[in-house]
Every structure is written in structure tokens, then in C-alpha cells.
Amino acid sequence: MYVAVKGGEQAITRSLQLLAEARRGDLATPELTLDQIRQQLRLGVARVMQEGSLYDEELAAMAMRQAAGDMLEAIFLLRAYRTTLPRFGYTQPLDTNAMRVHRRVSGTFKDVPGGQVLGPTYDYTQRLLEFESTAPGEPLEAAEPLPDTMPRVLDLLDAEALIERIDAGSDPEPIDLTREPLMFPADRATRLQNLARGDEGFLLGMAYSTQRGYAETHPFAGEIRMGEVDVLICPEELGFSIEIGSITLTECQMINQFHGGNGMPPQFTRGYGLCMGEGERKAMSMALVDRTLRCDELGEPAYAPAQNHEFVLSHSDSVEASGFVQHLKLPHYVDFQAELSLLRTLSAQHANRARDEEAATQETSS
């Protein structure tokens, strides 16, 4: 006799207990502290803040611990928490020219004013697993301090009028994509917001596809810089800007060959990527995809996935994608039942038709 599946509530409670146990592991091993995660897994923390759209290292570390290191789950936790936070106001545009640079490299000039600054990068590690202790050696003091501000490499090209000019002052006020729905066609500010929250893996794949012939854009890494930027707000009642802190950012400006079109002369064009914390792979991917998405504006033929606004922007978000792919786990008994009865009808029709045809063949042959 069939017994209806009851007790969903109890099953959920038991599942949560198992999850808590699996997450914590052996109680003899101390629990990870948030400081350990912030300091020793800082790139993970940066990614969670970046795609979680919330700059808070402690909350991001907490989310990573709660998610047992599943980055997409941690991002989801942070996003859900973010929903409940009141919005006090908007900051002034960040000035990355005034960044206190920890790393700054250009792939387009051997040397640039301010110099190439490698900073803390994995680029030149030899990817040998370090079986020994990872305690760092004493750092050496630099011969001279880095300059306070470094000119942007692209501004140097701008002086020669070789690169497109983009006047920030003429931009319309951007919409807030976390408060307004994404609508198409989407302007560049909206697209950049979407990409900034987008999944690193998705953007990396999209960016890679543009390098393999699906929307060739001939990119050069004009400049990548990482460091701290001051955050300013201008409260209405004060009427002047005050600094509320500083955040670490990674910025990438791509330079792309452009042979002219849509009434514009041949020149270099720009692709832009920005992300919170250290996230060079993401910033570079974002810059490549930003540039390919400008195909309509520049009169380039659009045929590749990375040039398709709706394709890229509708599928970039890991929280949306992860939820919808995994919702297939939910019961679909009712729709499946509907499909079962439809398929039975179709299959009966097919069998009848086959039988009729066979009968007809026999009649003609006899």
C-alpha cells in the first residue's frame, strides 16, 4: 500500500544537522577563524566580495566558512544578506588615478612613468607545491618609495590622440542594477555593472573565446593596476566630500586595434575591467568582454556569442545560473505526469500508424 511521502519538515531538520556536522569536520581540529580566512585565503575573500557585490572582508570570510569553501554558495550567502542592508547613499566616483599602487604592469610599453611594479603576484612562481613551511622571509626595503600617483598608461596615448576619447562627464547617471531590472538594449554603464558581478569562470570563457576567433578584437593589456583607493561620500547636509575609508581594487584597461567604422577614424579603442580586491583574471576577462560588447556602437559585425548582449548579460550571474540549473532537483511530478500522458498518446498514434501502413503494404502485395 502506498504511503504518501510525509515528514518533509523532519527530513529537512535532519539534513541540516548532517550538514553542520560535515561542515565542521573533526572536532579535535580547531575551527577556522575569520582572521585566518581573511589573511590566508584573501583571494577567495576578494572573489566572494566582488561577485557578492559587498565590500566586507569579515562577512565574506564568514560566508566562505559557512559554505565550506564553495565559492558560489558563499557569494549567494553574501548577496542574500546584502538585500537586507539599507542604502544610505552613493559614493563619489572612485578616482583610480589616485590609487596607492601595490602592483602596476603594462604589456604595451617596456617602461612607463612610475615604472612596472610587480607586487605580490603568482605570475612568476614556478607552481611547485611547497612541501616545506610557507613562512615568508624578511622583506627587503625598497631603494626608494613608489610615487604617490602614477599616470595611466592610456592617458599617455591619449595625449597623442591615438586612442578614443571617452568623456566621463557626458555619461548619463548610471542605473543601479541591484535595484532596477536589467533591460535591453543595455548601455555601457549597465553592462559593466553586470560584468562586475558576473561569474569569473563564465567571463573567463567568454573572454577566451574572443581570442580564438569568435569576435577578434586584437587586445593589448594597456595597464593593470591594483591598490587602495579612497572612498568619498558627499552627504547632502554637509555639502562637501568626506572620506569614509579605502578599498582595494584591481583595474584593467585593454587597448584594442580598431580600423575605423561607424563614422569613427582608425584608432585604438578601450575595454575596461574593474573588480574589488585582487582579481586580475576577472578584471582582464571583463575588459575583453566589455570591448566585444561594444560591437554595435563601433559598427563591427556581430556574430559571436561574446558580442551578443542578451546572451552574455543574461547568463553571467552565478547566483541566477546556479539556482536555475539546480532547481531541476525540485519535484516536477505534475509536469512529468502531463508529459507522460502526452508521450503515451503520441506513442499509441505512432504504433497505430505503423500497423495501418503494414496492413496497407500487405494488401497491395497480396
Binding site: T83, T178, F184, G323, L330, P331, H332, L340
Partner: protein
Amino acid sequence: MTSNYNFAFLDENTKRMLRRALLKAVAIPGYQVPFGSREMPLPYGWGTGGIQLTAALLGPDDVLKVIDQGADDTTNAVNIRRFFARVAGVTTTERTTEASVIQTRHRIPETPLREDQILVFQVPEPEPLRTLEPREAETRTLHALADYGLMHVKLYEDIAQYGHIATSYDYPVLVDGRFLTSPSPIPKFDNPKLDHSPALMLFGAGREKRLYAIPPYTQVESLAFEDHPFEIQRWEHQCELCGADESYLDEVIVDDRGSRMFVCSDTDYCGQRRAEQAA
């Protein structure tokens, strides 16, 4: 009820935004209103649209029922009910007649609804034309022009190929003679319940950031042709638990020889009928 969050999780400004969008939706039956969908603590695709609408509707005196596949005891329904019990502290029920707000996925209750009830649907894909035209900018234009030729051709091709319309759930409807609308993935069995329903029907698609409404007593027509009228599913069986012969039945495999039994998908309806029979 947890006091760390506002009543029903969302802040009041967000609820106001949602209510404004809902008013617009009620004013233009079947029109998909874009709204600033928030990130909820449940995954996209698991009812975030429905949850946001329910959160905007609930008051402290409301009685909430949540069903998935017609059942109150499926895990996701249990989880959404637990969520609102936790963040809003409202009374919950499994009885259709006792609820003032019913959130549902994939079914409309068998028990007829009343004027003082609201049915909130979870919608995965609000755009009925999406599988025929993936571009949003294009489908919005088609709606603006009421150009639904694509859908009629699709249904016609079904008839040409199979002899009947081969859509069994999420069967497209025309609301108030104007907007082609997705009824959400309910079986077409439930479509007639949408027509001139006394209860307000609200639809929320969180991931797609759209909501829409079918106001009470609105004409809702399932698309069909004069020579191929709309038909609903019929079973040769009755519910083996309550004997109902007019309810939507789920097929259950009961042993390893593949034996089947058919039972009501609406657990409350089935349970009430059995209680009456026992009395």
C-alpha cells in the same frame, strides 16, 4: 519569529516597490511588469519571485499556505513555509479554505478559491514566447504589437505533425483578450481554473525580474483553433486513496515490478475527502 530581520524579511521600501509594481500588473492584466527583483535567501529558480510577492502581501493576520506540485509536504514547500514562519511569524495552514494567501508551484488547488484569497504563482520563465524567440527586446515588441503569430504557428505545426496540440503544461493563455501569458508550468488541466477566478492571481518571476497578474473575474482563454478546441487531461483511473475522478492525478511507482497507482496531486483536497468519507 526572528527579530534580526524586518517583518517578512524585505525592508518596507522594497515592499512598497513591489506593491507599486503589483498595482501596475493588476491594472494591465497579463502584462509582464519589470521590477527590481532582490536577492533572496533561497536560490533563484526555487520560488524567489513568489516569495517576494508573498513577502510584499503578508500582514500579521494573514494565514499562509504553500504548495509545490499540489502538495503541502514536498520539501521546497515545507522550506518556504518555514521561512515565512521564521521571518514573519504568520500562521500557516495546509487547508486551502483557511488560507488568505496561497503560494504555489505548478498547481492550482482543486478546492475552488474565494474572493478573499490570493494565489501567488512561482514562475520560472514569464515569457511565453521565449522558446520561440530568445531575444527579450524582440519579445517585448511582439507583445506591444499583440503579434502572436509565432505561437499560433507553433500550435498549428503541432496539429499538422501530431494531430493535436502537443503542449501539456505551461499551456499559453490570452488574458483579457490582450496579452499572451504564461500560466506558469501548471498542467493544462488547471487552465480552466484561471478563467473568471474569484481570487486574485499573482505571478512572480524573481530570476527574470518580472511580475504579472490576472485580476479576479478576468477572461482567460487557452489558445486553440475552432476545429481543434482546447482539451484537458483525463484519466482512466480514480484516486486510489479518496476515489476522486475529477482531480489531477500523480502516478506513483509502488514496487520493483513497475506497478503503478494513481493518487491526487492536491494533498489537502485528497485528505479532506478521506476525512469526510471516514466521518
